[in-house]
């Protein structure tokens, strides 16, 4: 069913509810559901029901539709965020951070000149995230809220100390991306909370890298993800470090021992060796992409390589 014409008019400020049966001609079955497209984030929050898991928010729908087609998710109602206020679709360069609206698509970020200048590692990560069709519609808010441990961005954003602004029935709050993901596809969001904004701090001395390690085809889910952010002192030692592993753990996990080794140290071969060995102490999960024992060896090697790469990467540009 098409959207009635008058619905698109700018004078329509209030949410309208419309029922829409979605049929995918002969394809995998998707049960009919109600689709609501509110025009304001606050209205979207109001349409969610913290006590009813069959009411779901929908952003780019790339993961959601796969789950619905597979029959693992059968929502009664989807609250689409595609028509909420334009500010949630904008990328802004603030003095000390990049602010991303939750409805910014991954392709928008990938192609953003301000993001590329300030946070080149984010753009490079996006180039190998899923594929161009997915990146064109998937949104940063939905991506993070999905909380699949194989995803690339959570690990990197944790390493970059990114934070979130969350709107919910109980009001607005902030939390770190590191606090968002609490387990395998589990988040700290309440049933009526939505990610509204993502803030990624910018530091003149910070260099970051993300390594996606796939073991089957290049477009496979990673067997292992490693994100590293280093704040470098002028003397070539590391002032601060974030080291996060993903895909081989049930959620992105900071490697505190490795961070402790790196902080204050010069990144030389001896340190890289010790850091790789320390990383390999982390308990990992084996899956179709590789056994736990193999992933441990991948982590040992790729952590070393990622650290070396981060230490030699140019710092982010500070021009605004």
């Amino acid at each position: 069913m098409l959207v009635p014409n008058e619905y698109r008019g700018p004078e329509v400020a209030t949410a309208r509810t419309r029922a829409s049966a979605v049929f995918a001609a002969d394809g995998p079955a998707v049960s009919p559901f109600e689709l609501i497209e509110p025009s304001a984030l606050a209205e979207a929050v109001g349409l969610l029901d913290p006590n009813d898991s069959s009411v779901r928010a929908a952003a780019g729908c790339t993961a959601l539709m796969l789950m619905m087609k597979a029959g693992v998710l059968k929502p009664r109602r989807l609250v689409s965020l595609r028509r909420i206020e334009p500010r949630y679709c904008a990328i802004e360069r603030e003095p000390r951070a990049i602010r991303l609206g939750a409805q910014v698509t991954l392709a928008q970020i990938e192609r953003s000149a301000v993001v590329r200048a300030a946070l080149p590692a984010v753009c490079r990560t996006l180039e190998r995230l899923a594929n161009v069709r997915v990146r064109n519609v998937a949104c940063i808010g939905g991506n993070l809220a999905h909380a699949d441990p194989h995803m690339d961005l959570p690990a990197l954003l944790i390493a970059l100390d990114a934070g979130l602004v969350v709107h919910g029935g109980a009001g607005v709050r902030t939390l770190a991306v590191a606090e968002l993901i609490t387990g395998y596809m589990e988040t700290a969001l309440a049933g009526d909370e939505l990610i509204a904004e993502v803030h990624i701090p910018i530091h003149a001395t910070r260099r970051a890298v993300y390594r996606k390690v796939t073991t089957r085809s290049a477009d496979d889910w990673p067997a292992l993800g490693i994100a590293i952010a280093l704040d470098m002192n002028p003397d070539g030692t590391a002032a601060d470090a974030r080291v996060v592993v993903s895909a081989a753990t049930d959620r992105p996990t900071r490697l505190g021992e490795v961070e402790a080794l790196v902080c204050g140290a010069r990144i030389d071969d001896a340190l890289l060796g010790r850091a790789g060995d320390a990383a390999a102490e982390q308990a990992l999960i084996g899956d179709q992409h590789g056994s736990a024992a193999y992933k441990r060896e991948l982590l040992r090697v790729h952590l070393r390589r990622a650290l070396r790469e981060a230490a030699s990467a140019p710092p982010a540009a500070m021009t605004s």
Binding site: D26, S217, D220, G290, A293
Partner: protein
């Protein structure tokens, strides 16, 4: 010829694919797009159990589901068709499970509804009670397993090359093929070196991007089947057989296919959809999901043991091969694979003393059938890995070892059939030249080691099979070809039009091709095994020649000059206006001598030989085992290339497909259930996995029996890929892998084992 000859010859021209524009603009017809008035959609309920007796099927909830039209089970099929089993080799596969299920994913019930989502939801509410039976999954265990998949075996008797099929009662052996030539035991006794190695291949599948789909439309005492099938003639005769109808009451129409690769052969959804449509008396459509492809047809996993005796000069004097093919729960065309591939198991080498034992086995896994190469890639994986292992062991260059042993023109192959028009030596030499084999090679650095490898394989064509074609010349000199070959992406429409054009002196662009419609297009055995260019190509050539002869006779009858009178003038003179047709007919079936059941010997085992070789260069990361194929070179003998551009894409397409089977594709199972039945977890190669350099070459060849010297090329690119990669990995880092897929973890584990520091299992 009566028409002024088009200036350009049509053979050897890279004519643009006839369907390219329609496909690129989204206008090409597919069964998936077909919607008929009053059509019901069917969704299947499938067994979660790998082997079990059906105690009870409860369809009440599904029947009561709002919107459900009808729920059908195997007993409904039995009420319509007394023996509702089908199959090309054995009539072993029930339309819906009867009495027992033999693999997890087997169809048990069909729900019909006007809305496919209703049908899907209702199918999930069907409850089946099973008495589980012991199951067998491994092909070698299946040889002696107490778990027997089929209690009785019913040979189909359809195809002349499978007439002897009997199966072995109370075993899982559907077919055993044996070949004996010379005195193997004596030759092993006098060999300077004897080598024995065992290789394994994994179960994979075709994953055409268009999954299986069939629509059946009942009519007045007739039935029309629209289906994505590679074998419309077989569908017609098999459906007619099941129903006890004359063949002309069944009409099978096939538009374009979104890929086939051997999956869409024989009967897949057609019997189910046909029976359902006849029961409910309205059109029925069943469209499989991508996941359901994993439960329909796969490629044989195999275990291959190969033993060779080599003399002091590096000549192979004896070879014994044992091959166990994991056919899954239903034989499909596995017995033919066992036989055809069985007799080439010793490889393209000149060996006087040969023994082959090849077994088609039933197991409780999804059925296996033909997949681009018909068993040959599994065999080449074994004998070309084995070749490099021997060469290394005796200190001979792998190319030199192959040169010394390669089967030359005029020499007998293991069956005793003398090799003719098979450019094995030339293909090997061209590959060596392209690889610059005799020049120094950059070995890379400490962490990133480089290596290269080659492999060569060959394949006998299917025989004896029939193709029939009709060429209609219209009064304006345009031509229409009626041809049962299915264009599933390989470009057969274009190649066949070129053959017509060459004979009649018109441009291929002027020849239209009518797609398979069994009411209109004549018989063709099937589009499989790279047979179409040779078999249908010969029939098309004969049909065009018949039309040409009739045009010449018409000119003579009218007293017109046959060489200079334009074709339209012939018709105007004959009929007084632009009217009438000339219709040419051609048919082709090659000569064939069946292999002797005891010795596997035949003086004419194939109408032609396909030859394909691949060379690769790899870079291996010694710290992780990750490797990359940086260069992929495919060389083949396809006789005369009718369309060089299509030949190149067939070679690269086959090689890339095999690259996936070599490195990333693998069906994973737990208790017989597929655990990665989706493209998210079953990884086919993507664009980023393409080697940076891919080269394809067809050597100058000529197949005397082929149309204008041509023969098939659809599978040749697959033959050598897997062993060439394994050989290159050993060349780079000194470890040998003997099981597919060649994963980074397998390379890493082998490197650790070589260092004496094996990685623990978990």
């Amino acid at each position: 010829m009566s028409a002024p000859r088009d200036s350009e010859p049509q053979i050897g021209r890279s004519v643009l694919r006839k369907e390219a524009r329609a496909k690129l603009t989204g206008r090409a017809p597919y069964v998936h797009n077909l919607v008929l008035p009053g059509m019901l959609y069917g969704k299947l309920a499938r067994s979660p159990v790998a082997h079990g007796r059906i105690r009870h099927i409860d369809t009440a909830a599904a029947r009561d589901h709002p919107g459900v039209h009808r729920v059908l089970t195997g007993e409904d099929m039995r009420a319509l068709i007394p023996d509702p089993h089908y199959g090309p080799a054995f009539h072993d596969q029930p339309i819906l499970a009867l009495d027992k299920v033999r693999y997890a994913g087997e169809p048990v019930a069909l729900v019909l509804a006007a809305d496919p989502h209703v049908a899907e939801a209702a199918a999930q509410s069907i409850e089946v009670e099973y008495d589980e039976l012991p199951a067998v999954y491994d092909e070698v265990e299946a040889m002696t397993s107490k778990a027997v998949v089929h209690e009785t075996l019913k040979p189909a008797g359809t195809f002349p090359d499978l007439k002897h099929l009997a199966g072995k009662r109370d075993t899982n052996i559907a077919l055993d093929f044996h070949l004996r030539r010379g005195d193997v035991a004596a030759a092993f006794g006098r060999a300077a070196h004897v080598f024995e190695h065992t290789f394994k291949t994994q179960q994979v599948l075709h994953v055409p991007l268009e999954p299986f789909v069939t629509v059946a439309e009942p009519g007045d005492g007739r039935l029309t089947i629209h289906t994505a099938s590679q074998s419309p003639s077989f569908v017609r005769s098999e459906i007619a057989r099941l129903l006890g109808w004359a063949e002309n009451r069944v009409r099978v129409q096939v538009p374009f296919l979104g890929g086939g690769f051997g999956a869409k052969l024989y009967i897949k959804l057609e019997a189910l959809v046909a029976a359902a449509a006849l029961i409910v008396r309205c059109p029925v459509k069943v469209a499989a999901s991508m996941e359901e492809q994993f439960y329909t047809l796969t490629k044989h996993a195999a275990t291959l043991r190969i033993k060779s005796g080599v003399d002091a000069n590096g000549r192979i004097i004896a070879r014994a091969c044992e091959v166990w093919w994991n056919g899954g729960a239903y034989a499909d065309i596995g017995p033919r694979i066992t036989q055809k591939s069985g007799f080439t198991a010793p490889g393209p080498y000149d060996i006087d003393n040969v023994a082959v034992d090849s077994y088609a086995l039933y197991t409780n896994l999804p059925p296996a059938g033909a997949l681009r190469g018909f068993g040959i890639p599994q065999l080449v994986w074994a004998y070309e890995s084995h070749a490099d292992m021997i060469a290394r062991a005796i200190g001979m260059d792998p190319l030199e070892f192959r040169r010394k042993n390669i089967l030359r023109e005029g020499r007998p192959q293991a069956t005793g059939t003398v090799m003719r028009d098979a450019a094995l030596g030339e293909v090997l030499e061209r590959l060596a030249q392209r690889m610059r084999w005799n020049e120094p090679f950059d070995r890379g650095s400490a962490a990133l080691r480089r290596g290269r490898g080659i492999a060569i394989g060959f394949k006998a064509s299917i025989s004896p099979t029939t193709s029939v074609a009709i060429v209609t010349v219209n009064a304006d000199a345009s031509c229409t070809l009626l041809c049962g070959t299915v264009d599933m992406g390989q470009g057969s429409d274009t190649a066949m039009a070129q053959i017509v054009g060459e004979v009649l002196g018109v441009a291929a662009e002027q020849v239209s091709v009518v797609h398979p419609d069994t009411d209109v297009t004549p018989y063709d055995m099937a589009t499989l095994g790279s047979r179409s260019t040779y078999h249908m190509g010969n029939a098309v050539r004969r049909a065009a020649e018949d039309a040409r002869d009739k045009l010449l006779a018409l000119a003579a009858e009218l007293g017109l000059a046959p060489e200079t009178t334009p074709i339209p003038d012939l018709f105007r003179h004959k009929y007084g206006m632009q009217a009438g047709n000339v219709i040419g007919m051609g048919s082709f079936v090659p000569a064939y001598t069946p292999t002797d059941h005891a010795s596997g010997q035949s003086d004419n085992v194939t109408p032609f030989w396909m030859v394909g070789a691949t060379g690769v260069e790899v870079v291996v990361d010694t710290e992780t085992g990750h490797f990359e194929v940086t260069r992929l070179v495919n060389v083949a003998d396809c006789g005369e290339a009718i369309n060089p551009a299509l030949v190149a894409t067939q070679l690269s397409g086959g090689a890339i497909m095999q690259l996936g089977f070599s490195t990333s594709e693998q069906m994973l199972f737990r208790d017989g259930q597929v655990t990665n039945a989706s493209l998210a977890e079953y990884k086919i190669p993507g664009m980023l996995d393409m080697p940076a350099r891919i080269e394809n070459e067809a050597v100058a060849g000529n197949e005397r029996g082929g149309p204008f010297g041509a023969k098939g090329v659809g599978e040749s690119g697959t033959f050598g890929v897997s062993p060439a990669i394994a050989n290159a990995i050993e060349d780079a880092v000194g470890v040998r892998l003997s099981a597919l897929p060649l994963t980074a973890e397998a390379v890493y584990r082998a490197l650790r084992a070589k260092r004496g520091e094996p990685l623990e299992d978990a």
